[in-house]
């Protein structure tokens, strides 16, 4: 039961930020595409804007790894 709890916690730690990232990118994507249609020089900003929400899922992944390691210890 405890192992199940650890795995569930790890899954939630990466899954919830992944959903949040997906939601954020779904809003940013069309907005930045529309902006780039008018100002192509915004391509660098576009890269940054798309990459910024990914921090959430990356940190979630790190936390998930730490949870799994603590669970295994």
């Amino acid at each position: 039961m405890e192992a199940f709890g650890v795995v569930l916690a790890a899954a939630l730690a990466v899954g919830l930020p992944a959903l949040a990232t997906a939601w954020a990118q779904s809003r940013i994507g069309p907005a930045i595409a529309a902006s780039m249609a008018e100002k192509p020089e915004l391509s660098t900003t576009a890269i940054l804007m798309i990459a910024i929400p990914e921090t959430m899922v990356i940190l979630g992944f790190v936390v998930s790894v730490l949870i799994l390691f603590r669970g295994a210890a």
């Binding site: 660098t44 940054l48 990459a51 921090t55 990356i58 992944f61 790190v62």
Partner: protein, 630 residues
Amino acid sequence: MIIEMARLRILGPRDRLGDVFDALQDLGVMHLAEPGAPAPGVSPVELTAAQRREQRQLRRALDHVDRALAGLGLRAGPASRAAPRATRNDFARWARLGWRMRRAVDRLATREAALQEERALILKYQQFFGAFRALLESQSRWPSATAYHVLLRGGETEALIRLRGSLRELIGDAFELYSQPLPSGEIALLIVVAAPAAPQVERILAQARVQEIPVPASYGGGALTEAIPRMLARLSDLPAELEALRRERARLGQDHGAELRRARASLADRLGELEALPLSAVTARAFVIEGWAPARTRPTIEQRLAAGFGDAVVVTEVGKEDWASEDAPVVLSNPRLFRPFELLIRLLPLPRYGTIDPTPFVAVFFPAFFGLMVGDIGYGLLLGVLALVLRRRSQPGSTLRSAAEIAGACAVFTVLAGALFGELFGDLGRRWLGLRPIAFNREEALIPFLILAVSLGAVHVVLGLALGVAANIRHHPRHALGRGMSLVMIIAIILALLAAVHVLPDALLTPAVIALLAAFPVLIVAEGVVAPIELLSTVGNVLSYARIMALGVASVMLAVVANRMVGAIGSVAVGVVFALLFHLVNFAIALFSPTIHALRLHYVEFFGKFYSPGGVRYQPFGHWTREATR
């Protein structure tokens, strides 16, 4: 680095202004600017009515020449330095040539479009005829009937049902409707109706908004069976006519291409001179031109003007205290090895003059981060091959060449990191070649990899803060002090953490905490109450480098999954195909995702500490080149 610029002031007799502009255009190093504070009696040059007229005529002629060159499929290039300076007669001749050539290429383009359209139309009829050949050939048996040829888009079966219903409603059974799908996906309809019902059917077709294709009058109109042989004969003539047009275009290019290229360059040069003229100022007898040039080119400018004008024209340097550094144009100049990475800096607004050019740091850290994220000898070698192919296919100095060279550097670091982690297409090297990791195995040693990534982040962010101190120390000492205190506090936090987990001696913990407490009030004084928030975001910046570990682990796991497909799927051959496809997908992901994240780590985490955007692009007044247009 950003090369040193000198603001130069050129003075001379007013009647030599045009000649001095010609000399400066030949030199091509001076970025012109409006003269500084106006003095009494000095006024900016205004173009005369004749010059404005000339400007309009030049623009029109340039447009004609550009369109003629584009129509002939020729690339414009700069004028030969050996060519004599163009005269007024030359410009008049080129204006006429441009107009004539533009009309000629427009005529050729119109004719070609008409022939292509005719070809497409005949091909459509050919398909139609093929679908109803037997029926159409028996058309002679219905002397009192009228035939309609209609095309429906693929999938418009409902329109067909509606059309059939409308016809039945209006004229009962006095019609025949045949439908056939065509190879193009469209549906061909042949509607045969009794001649008296023809006007009603035409009305129904118009209301249904279907595409009717009556036999064109140019092929005799009437029955399609009679027109088709004529159309097919015409179809066999069309390639020869198109070839004749191509030859005509090639001949025009051969006869006039060189002259058009010279005209393009000379017209643009003269236009550039007229546009630059208002940047100079004059008195009743003298002129003044000001602008920036790389400091090392000052002797060249002086020598060229002295050789051409003797003592009549004087070059002086405006003191640095008389101009604002943010107005000076920026030229990035880096060693050959670092130069391709200027491309990544140019994706952002240029750094201001007098600040730090981050190119050398990007050239070291960008491929290193990329390499750590991909970290596979196999993928590195593939990327290296891709970089070589791109390099071979690109022009020196082009964006593609820079991208290829950056990819080459990333490939080297990827191979090195692959050797460090013992990876060749995931765990394939380990299983087949007995490859062993030099540092650690990324599949298992997640925590060491995380520590490596965050440590690299700490080094990168600390370097950024140190550069922030260096960039601000002269002009914004308070800001530099704030950056310095952030630097001290980040180092103190790192030392305290390392001492707390017994990596460093425990004795370091107390001095690190004292340094932290001592630096905090100084930080508040220097940067204000928002400073603690900024400090927290800096700590967040360091943790953000954990993405190197996250992407690295994702990359190796995908590669391992690809390798396991060989055994997991029944047939070995199918498994190998799946594994190769999976590796291809992983390689494609490895090209994009690490690039975006390595860029983000630079632009947000690193540049945020010291980079001052807003530099003016260096645009020297010179002869026209394709690059200048870009």
